[in-house]
Symmetry: C2
Subunit: 204 residues, 2 copies
Amino acid sequence: MGVLERREREREEVRRKILDAARSLFTREGYEKVTMRAIAEAIEYSPTTIYNHFRDKDALVDSLCEEDFGRLLGALQKSPAPTDPVEWIRELGRAYCAFGRAYPNHYRFMFMTPGKFPDDHELSMPGQRAFGLLLDAVREAIRQGAFVAGDALTMAQVLWSSIHGVVALLVTYKPEQFPHGPAAADLAEQVCANGIRGFLARAE
Amino acid sequence: MGVLERREREREEVRRKILDAARSLFTREGYEKVTMRAIAEAIEYSPTTIYNHFRDKDALVDSLCEEDFGRLLGALQKSPAPTDPVEWIRELGRAYCAFGRAYPNHYRFMFMTPGKFPDDHELSMPGQRAFGLLLDAVREAIRQGAFVAGDALTMAQVLWSSIHGVVALLVTYKPEQFPHGPAAADLAEQVCANGIRGFLARAE
DNA sequence: ACATATACTTAACGTTGTTAACCGTGTGAT
DNA sequence: ATCACACGGTTAACAACGTTAAGTATATGT
């Protein structure tokens, strides 16, 4: 009696349509500009149908967000093998930044929108794992003596904060709008480099 | 015939009431939660009155924002005299961070909301001057040989980006929500320190 | 005393997220 | 075969939002 399975499959299919349409609109419009009605129109259903699959707009975008964390994790995992942990960190930074600039609206929602997660929940599993990559790299850099000894967790958070800062700015302003002249084309690279440099064990 | 002046004064008075009420609500609610009707109610006028003083909601919040850049500049100018430029930079970072944490919703609007400035306009005068302080400090640090030689503008932007990153995170998430355990209590301090450390000329 | 300008209000419009009520169709039981 | 029903979908409506057109009153200048 595969009728239940079929129903489940059909249901999932509509859910996917909604998510895809929402992502597509969301990618080029941003959270508040995308209306439930617009999403509904895109998939040729009535707006109410969306509420059969998602509690509300927030829940819908949360699902999107969940998937995006997975994508981010995927992007970061593509970074080359950790022969040199410092170079690994740099590559992670580059990939992270590239992700943010490729999907500014998603980045905004994932990392710049408050009240998203209930207190216990933290960033979401793939988000945690993504950060875990950086954490591993930092631990390895310390172990090899490339980084100064210190609390790896804090150091990873420092690096993440710094990179997040430049991505957040680039996602918000055009480089021409930066104070006192346009931002350097490779500002992200510089931030990344400077964050790493600060933790480098001094060669003497 | 001071009637025109009086009118102008009364007009300015209402304008101030609107701005103050808006700021008060805005401080604890954030942009989209604060409604024109709520502001109107707070000052015991009809919603329409606001439109006599501001083109629309965006213009109102822009005015608020303009004032806030002034406040930020004021806060930064309180930092001690630049005897040691590196310490000055650190103090600027602290003051900047304190401002952001004291007024998260304002910070959000000033630095995390896109489409705010027309292309030519850049950050706004006081915003420019605030960044100018950092730029001056970096220039001085380079001149004294405390920082490595390099493009001061880019270096200042790197430092600003990094600090902005941690403030943006702290303004968006509670520390408990940070990945892999709560953030170090002094994460902002650490980011600041690490940013500076990266530019320090190596002592040998 | 009258006309006018000005600050303000009332009432409405169009759009938003969301929900209540309904409808039709395919399913499972009788 | 027929019937009851669950389920996915729609229509129509709600309240709240930003915003505006039209109207009102008061105080000014003639």
